[in-house]
Subunit: 116 residues, 2 copies
DNA sequence: ATTTGTAGTTACCCAATAGTAACCAGAATA
DNA sequence: TATTCTGGTTACTATTGGGTAACTACAAAT
């Protein structure tokens, strides 16, 4: 899941891309935003992600210091995630991407759909 | 290479991540920058990328309107790439990522290396 | 006694991605 | 005549990614 050639590069930009340059992480960071959120919520809010992949991505984000994980010793278990200072500092970049996209995206021709 | 679920999402942010959210594209865009560059140069400047993958990524970037490709009908062939307006507009975002990384990166412990 | 709920983990398997090597055109150069 | 040069493409293989389903713990509710 993580490309060692990127993470161990001596180019800081390449290393940065190694940590956040995949399709799930920006989505996850964006969904969390400034709130505290539970695993199950993430799982149900983010479309098409499996619990397995979600777990992996969250683990990596935590390892890279973007995310804080708070596990309560309860049953049934409760785990809360929230962005660290580093993660929060990444949010404006995601906003920039949104603006950039809004300005330049070539809007795809919407699929023919049957509404009943 | 391209995840249809992302590109066809009705969420613009998800679509944006679908186009630039992978490890090679930010690297390629960053390497091109404001200059005009040839295929062979890209291939030799970017570490670890294979010609096959480079070709695929360039093709997608062109399809998504980030890149302009200029092929000269010569032999041996000459092909030049440069960023479009959309591509150029993405450069400041890459700069933001560099700043963000410089500020927050947890520097990896350098590997034990033998210098002779 | 059985079901429900949470946040995972694990095993298994198929699909997608990426690496490698060989090959192409055809003009210019040795 | 053989080699070099460029920007690819193709076939084949290896590696990885990711989906699915089953399973865990244990308390509380039915």
């Amino acid at each position: 899941m993580r490309d060692e050639r990127f993470c161990a590069s001596n180019c800081p930009f390449t290393r940065a891309i190694g940590t956040i340059g995949n399709k799930w992480k920006p989505i996850i960071i964006n969904v969390i935003g400034v709130r505290t959120i539970r695993f199950g919520q993430l799982d149900s809010i983010i479309p098409h992600i499996s619990r397995k992949v979600l777990t992996e991505q969250l683990k990596e984000l935590e390892e890279d210091g973007l995310l804080e994980r708070l596990a309560y010793k309860e049953l049934p278990p409760r785990v809360e995630y929230k962005l660290s200072e580093k993660g929060l500092a990444f949010l404006p970049i995601l906003d920039n991407i949104k603006e950039w996209n809004a300005k330049y995206e070539i809007v795809p021709i919407p699929e023919e759909t049957d509404y009943k």
